[in-house]
Symmetry: C2
DNA sequence: ATTAACTTTCAATATTTTTTGAAAGTTTAA
DNA sequence: TTAAACTTTCAAAAAATATTGAAAGTTAAT
């Protein structure tokens, strides 16, 4: 496999995987492109490489910056803005986990808590609703806490140790 | 909060969370409805509760069965088919993790492996592509392995509990 | 073998999400 | 201050995805 083929394959695969970590295709592809680039890229560069419009590029770069995954790079003497992404995969995982937790998981946990806290009126269906949403609340909360602990704290050490434990 | 309000809130929240575990809204809502139901439900029941069409219900039930989350229940003397979902949240988590790994993560890991294995032609850009996709491959593979091992542990634990029951 | 009860399929339709492109906005150099 | 270089915004268009409903298919009872 040639460089260009491998690059295209990586970008399109990573793009379609976007849904797995909660972002859209263009956003994921821009990140992928920056991730394997040896230097910061301009909006023009990105538009051309991915064959997407200026507006699309601008909006998705903003979102990536909101996520904290991409940063604007000012190159002295240059008028254009340049962009880079976080290059360390562990740090990337940390950011993604944290943002997803904040944006999606935490709000759901709150609702599960509210729903599981309704007054028990003694009926079977109410008992079931309380029981099941409580179980879901506990599971979701545990998972969320675990994931954040794993990615936040001394990641490398934890990952290695956990792997050994399970081998 | 009344039972009905809590129930509706749970179903719509769980439905919109579907994207988090890779299924569509109707599918997630059907599962949510079954999850808090005290008895198996027929297609008619589901259509009526969620206000969705027969076709939609049928297709999404099939998908839930493909995932292994929902099972058909035959009620003696009844012509209709009835459906139930796995009620244990741990088992549910296990199934979802396993299916997502199989459907989405494993194929990506393979591509990352292929891409990171291209021949190093000595250029800076090729070196960067190899380095970065290799890092991503390792991270993804580690995460996937961890999840699978956790799942196996859970299964072992489950098996043990079941064995105890039959002793 | 016929019919009634029920489920599945799938082309058409509706909805949601993404993308475009051009006008409006901003910044910097002269 | 003007104008060129660049970025953002957002209404409209396109693309992707989900939903409908009715015809076709299946099953079970008589």
């Amino acid at each position: 496999m040639e460089y260009q083929e491998a690059k295209d394959k990586f970008i399109s695969t990573w793009g379609s995987l976007g849904s797995l970590w909660g972002i859209n295709k263009a956003m994921a592809q821009i990140q992928a492109l920056l991730f394997i680039s040896t230097k910061p890229l301009s909006m023009e560069d990105i538009m051309e490489e991915l064959k997407i419009s200026r507006g699309n590029t601008s909006m998705n770069l903003r979102q990536l910056m909101d996520w904290g995954i991409v940063t604007k790079e000012i190159i002295p003497g240059e008028r254009k803005e340049y962009f880079t992404t976080e290059k360390d995969v562990q740090e990337l995982a940390r950011i993604v986990a944290k943002e997803r937790s904040r944006r999606e998981i935490k709000p759901v946990i709150k609702i599960l808590k509210d729903v599981s806290s309704i007054k028990d009126d003694g009926t079977e269906k109410t008992k079931e609703l309380i029981k099941q949403t409580k179980a879901l609340h506990e599971l979701t909360d545990t998972m969320d806490t675990m994931i954040n602990k794993v990615v936040n704290q001394q990641q490398k050490w934890l990952t290695k140790s956990l792997l050994k434990l399970f081998k």
